[in-house]
């Protein structure tokens, strides 16, 4: 479904991504692991069409994002949604939660997700259902982001991410700015939602254990290069790239 082919990207003279290629199948979850500065977030931006790659192709359901402009790009975009790392920055501080959550639905009036069929014309009701899907009480509808806890904000961001029922949800470090005790809750939620909606995930993280929990396949990015791509079961295999093995060692200690 998503195909990334030989993508390169440089900022100034700095090569951020170097010849990255992979695919994600419908309903599949690919974990992308890498240290800071490995180009993970840049890749996410390219797939979201927020930035242009220097070379290479990114196609979603056969449509090349890079060639699209304006309305066309907007139309294509509804199939890819995103959950960012920092839930504080990813919600507009001046809008109540419910408005943020259903904003995408307002932008695509013709999109009718299956779980919102009956209430498509009632904004508040849609927001209510979406919040319920991510385990938030409807009493939070009118709250502003600063009145929510970090975990609640991230749930709201996830609600916005799934609101268009996208075929691909990009999770860019969705748990790393949260407290340890909340990370597990969010991971569980993401896993449940994926099963419910049969979405594909590109799950970007530096946390091996989290990626292992969520994803079927894993890719390891090191300094802009894709050094390893394998099934999650093979994580401990001897055939792994030395860098992957070092990461596993560090993560699995004790």
């Amino acid at each position: 479904m998503l195909q990334v082919k030989n993508v390169c990207k440089s900022y100034r003279s700095n090569k951020v991504l170097n010849d990255v290629s992979f695919q994600i199948q419908q309903g599949e979850c690919l974990g992308l692991i890498g240290g800071s500065g490995s180009g993970k977030s840049t890749l996410a931006k390219l797939i979201l069409g927020l930035d242009q790659s220097d070379r290479g192709q990114i196609t979603l359901n056969g449509i090349d994002f890079q060639c699209l402009k304006g309305t066309e790009l907007r139309k294509a975009r509804r199939h890819v949604q995103v959950v960012f790392q920092d839930p504080t920055a990813s919600l507009n501080p001046k809008l109540p939660v419910w408005k943020s959550v259903i904003e995408s639905l307002e932008n695509y009036p013709d999109v009718v997700p299956s779980f919102l069929k009956d209430v498509r014309n009632d904004k508040k009701q849609m927001a209510e259902i979406l919040l319920e899907k991510v385990g938030l009480n409807k009493s939070l509808l009118e709250r502003y982001p600063h009145q929510l806890s970090g975990g609640q904000r991230q749930r709201a961001a996830i609600a916005r991410g799934i609101s268009l029922q996208p075929s691909l949800l990009i999770c860019d470090e969705p748990t790393s700015s949260l407290d340890v005790s909340i990370q597990a809750q969010i991971l569980n939620l993401l896993k449940e939602l994926r099963e419910e909606f049969n979405m594909s995930y590109l799950f970007i993280s530096h946390d091996m254990a989290a990626v292992r929990y969520i994803c079927e396949r894993m890719a390891v990015l090191k300094e802009g290069m894709l050094v390893d791509l394998f099934l999650s079961e093979d994580l401990f295999s001897k055939r792994r790239h030395p860098y992957t093995r070092r990461l596993v060692e560090a993560a699995a200690e004790n």
Binding site: R77, A89, S90, N92, K94, L95, S104
Partner: protein, 286 residues
């Protein structure tokens, strides 16, 4: 420190009403509203015609007829002060409104669209900073003749820059934030991103900037009028009145005291409101 976020729970939408927490800001608000009230109902209040010269009564001391005395042409100082507030406040309001109307759209476009438009606007702004408003006013008054209109033009020509810069700065910062990116991914068209997500972020800084600028504009206008480069003599502008009083400074300092005090209190109250707003809205950059 982690403590900080436990300790500071600031309201996100501080309404204007809530400013009353600080008595000194309230004083500013109160005194500014009196000035505005005087401007509006002033013509019905004045005891004497501010324009009629009466050489027989020139430089008269305060009396029942002339509460603050008369000036060198026998005109009632009190009446001239009251009518003078119209000139000062009117011109200032006009200047600030024009500046905002030019500055915000330019800043929005320059920040969001970027590219050549942005560099053109920024170079223009750079070029204009070489001429501080006072010098520009002197240049324009010098070549095109001293008048209130020319004075306003020169102030507007310089003042829009700070608005454009502030707005552009905020836009540049905000448009990279994740909520704007998320809105883009969620299919928000550009106009909606600007109006719904970006515009609200610039309202409070611009508000603060504008209130603080009101004082500055009043000071510039009256300084230039004092030099004779703004309001023309019969016009009862406060700075021009100070200029009129100059020859009699040693003998009758009141001639200069009253208009100066009026300027001072008006500017002070604007600054008090501006500072109060700045503290309330928690804007540190201005």
């Amino acid at each position: 420190m982690k403590v900080s976020h436990i300790l500071q729970k600031k309201p996100y939408f501080p309404s204007l009403v809530r400013i009353n927490s600080k008595p000194i800001t309230m004083f500013g608000l109160f005194s500014l509203s009196i000035f505005i009230l005087i401007t509006i109902i002033g013509p019905f209040l004045v005891p004497n015609d501010p324009f009629t010269a009466n050489m027989a009564e020139r430089l008269a001391p305060p009396s029942l007829t002339y509460p603050f005395g008369t000036d060198h042409m026998g005109r009632c100082i009190f009446s001239r002060l009251i009518i003078g507030s119209q000139t000062t406040l009117g011109i200032t309001a006009l200047v600030i409104a024009t500046v905002i109307l030019i500055g915000i759209p330019l800043g929005l476009l320059s920040g969001y669209v970027g590219g050549r438009f942005d560099s053109f606007v920024m170079r223009l702004a750079d070029g204009l900073t070489a001429l501080p408003e006072f010098i520009l006013a002197i240049a324009i008054a010098g070549f095109l003749g001293p008048s209130l209109t020319n004075l306003m033009i020169s102030v507007v020509l310089v003042k829009w820059i700070s608005y454009t810069r502030v707005v552009r700065g905020i836009i540049l910062l905000e448009r990279e934030k994740e909520y704007v990116l998320a809105a883009k991914v969620g299919g928000c068209p550009t106009w909606k991103i600007i109006t719904r997500h970006l515009l609200p972020q610039i309202i409070s800084p611009v508000l603060v900037l504008a209130t603080l600028d009101v004082g500055k504009v009043i000071l510039i206008i009256s300084s230039l009028s004092y030099l004779g480069l703004g309001a023309k003599p019969p016009e009862p502008e406060w700075g021009a009145m100070l200029n009129d009083g100059r020859p009699y400074f040693q003998t009758i300092p009141e001639l200069m005291f009253y208009p100066g005090m009026a300027i001072f209190i008006l500017v002070l109250s604007c600054n008090l409101i501006g500072e109060g707003l700045r503290d309330k809205l928690d804007i540190k950059s201005i």
